[in-house]
Symmetry: C2
Subunit: 334 residues, 2 copies
């Protein structure tokens, strides 16, 4: 049995889902992988709870549920006001987990790696802007830097591209990577107008309160950038072309339908060329609901389709937790 | 740069495709993985060509092409009459590759592992009958024993189940794993009768001269057995239920079509329960052509679909070569 100390940054929907999986699958991790996880710190925007002996995750979930913030938990635990970089350096953990939306997290990702810590993240901007630096640092230090959940939630498209198909050369990837735009376009197919479709998505918790990142294609663009980095070579979000769905009209949706097709926000990833734009599609790219899909074209295998959940707390936690196990096994081996 | 000595067993369609990829992608393997492959032996049913300095693969392909057997190659190379077990022991290789159809290959797989060699295989019966023994031996010795190409050719369903989704628990897999039966059933949908559909499959090289292994469900059964071993726990082909497509009538195919459905040979894999039988399907399982598909249902992620080539020499070589790279990197790390 090997105990692995984890430091969790972010305790929103995904962070809490990760905590729930860590609680619920203790026995699985012990029996199948010989791993026992000890969460030594949890940070949310209110502060950092830190206990080297390990935090009671059930209690942490209850505090968050009842008070909305970890800093309310002052009777049992010390709450610290670290910056993330301070927290990463101060807290003795083997694997740092970033499930925040911190756009500047690449700084503390680097700090963690330089401090000899493995890193697991579902946070996209660090990779979409600093892939080369981050993955390079991890490789030089032989540390795990894993990010399955940044693209298509737990659906293992990153795993397939990074750890499989090792003899294939990817020619092109076409993918639908954002569930909110799929939802909005699906509603428009049913005759609901754009504004009301967005409102419904927000009411159902599918779109964020500020849905621009989805509707303008930024979220899909981050993901497409990451796919390019993994399948070909490092690139940044600034180098790609992105067009969202805000200009898609009811008429265009109707005309596509009449041809048996659907409009989806499609990412096209070729070597040195990434673009995200609404396209008329049929076949595997015509997904509905919260599914994402990637069609990977390679020289030996031809066309490979992977389709699965692209959003949701539990579905994202699936990728994060898989990476936590993978990072822990890699650190054990290394 | 690290040189890896390979010993290739089987020089039929798949073996030759593997050799072609090893020739064509030398630069890729060197640049991307720091690996240089040296094939020190090739065996076909006529004998074993063995050259510790490394065999010229281009020449080997030419000899096979022109003479149909490696043993014709007597002017340049020694040709040995080893049994596979003798060859495995005698020949100094780090990775043994089995792309034969030898039903008893598990014996020399074991011999290779006991001799400290890694093993890569596309040959199904060893795994379908001796999974526990083989994988157990490899794990005890910390040696790679890789078999991506046994199920769905190079489409990485084994990689997904073995190396990803590490926090998910699989509930069920439903899959179409045999391309010949899909071809025959598709032709029947076009009104061609069973016997003629089989004849066409043979003429196109899709079905073997003796197509019973496909039509009776044995091939799909082997693959379903292997999926169970990977997703749940070891089981053998003798413990599963298999029904092929020979009793499917033109009428049944027609009635399914009328309901917007198709009959496919479907494998259902649940913990402790594997069955292969013709089923009426719609949605992702209704594949055509040489594609295979697996629908993997898990607790966290929900439904994951992976679809891709399920047959073909190049497509199978994709999985074999990916495993050769993976095995070589694992041996380097270990």
């Amino acid at each position: 049995m090997r105990e692995v100390r984890l430091s969790l940054f972010g305790f929103g929907n995904v962070g809490r889902a990760v905590a729930e999986v860590l609680i619920g699958k203790e026995a699985l991790f012990r029996e199948k992988y010989g791993l026992e996880f000890r969460v030594v710190s949890i940070s949310d925007t209110s502060g950092t709870v830190w206990l080297p002996e390990g935090i009671d995750l059930r209690e942490a979930l209850m505090v968050k549920e009842n008070f909305g913030r970890l800093s309310a938990w002052t009777n049992d635990y010390e709450v610290y006001n670290f910056t993330p970089e301070e927290a990463v350096r101060e807290i003795d953990a083997e694997v740092v987990i970033d499930v925040t939306n911190d756009r500047d997290a690449w700084r503390w990702h680097l700090a963690a790696l330089r401090d000899g810590k493995g890193l697991v993240t579902s946070n996209k901007p660090p990779l979409a802007f600093h892939y080369e630096e981050l993955v390079g640092e991890a490789e030089r230090r032989n540390l795990p830097y894993l990010f399955e959940a940044t693209v298509m939630a737990g659906t293992p498209v990153i795993g397939i591209l990074r750890e499989n198909l090792l003899g294939d050369s990817v020619k092109r990837i076409k993918a639908v990577l954002n569930a909110t735009t799929t939802f909005v376009l699906s509603r428009m197919e049913q005759g609901i107008d754009f504004e009301n479709a967005v409102k419904q998505a927000q009411e159902l918790g599918i779109a964020e309160r500020d849905p621009r990142g989805d509707l303008l294609g930024t979220d899909a663009g981050y993901k497409a950038t990451i796919l390019h980095c993994v399948a070909f070579k490092p690139i940044t979000f600034d180098e790609i072309s992105v067009k969202g769905i805000v200009e898609v009209t009811a008429d265009e949706v109707k005309r596509a339908l009449a041809r048996g097709r659907k409009i989806r926000l499609v990412a096209t990833v070729e070597e040195g060329n990434v673009r995200v734009a609404p396209e008329e599609v049929e076949g595997p790219l015509a997904v509905s609901s919260n599914e994402n899909v990637a069609v990977i074209e390679t020289d030996l295998l031809g066309e490979l389709v992977i389709r699965g959940a692209g959003a949701g707390p539990k579905e994202t936690a699936s990728g994060v937790v898989s990476d936590i196990v993978k990072a822990s096994l890699a650190l054990r081996g290394g």
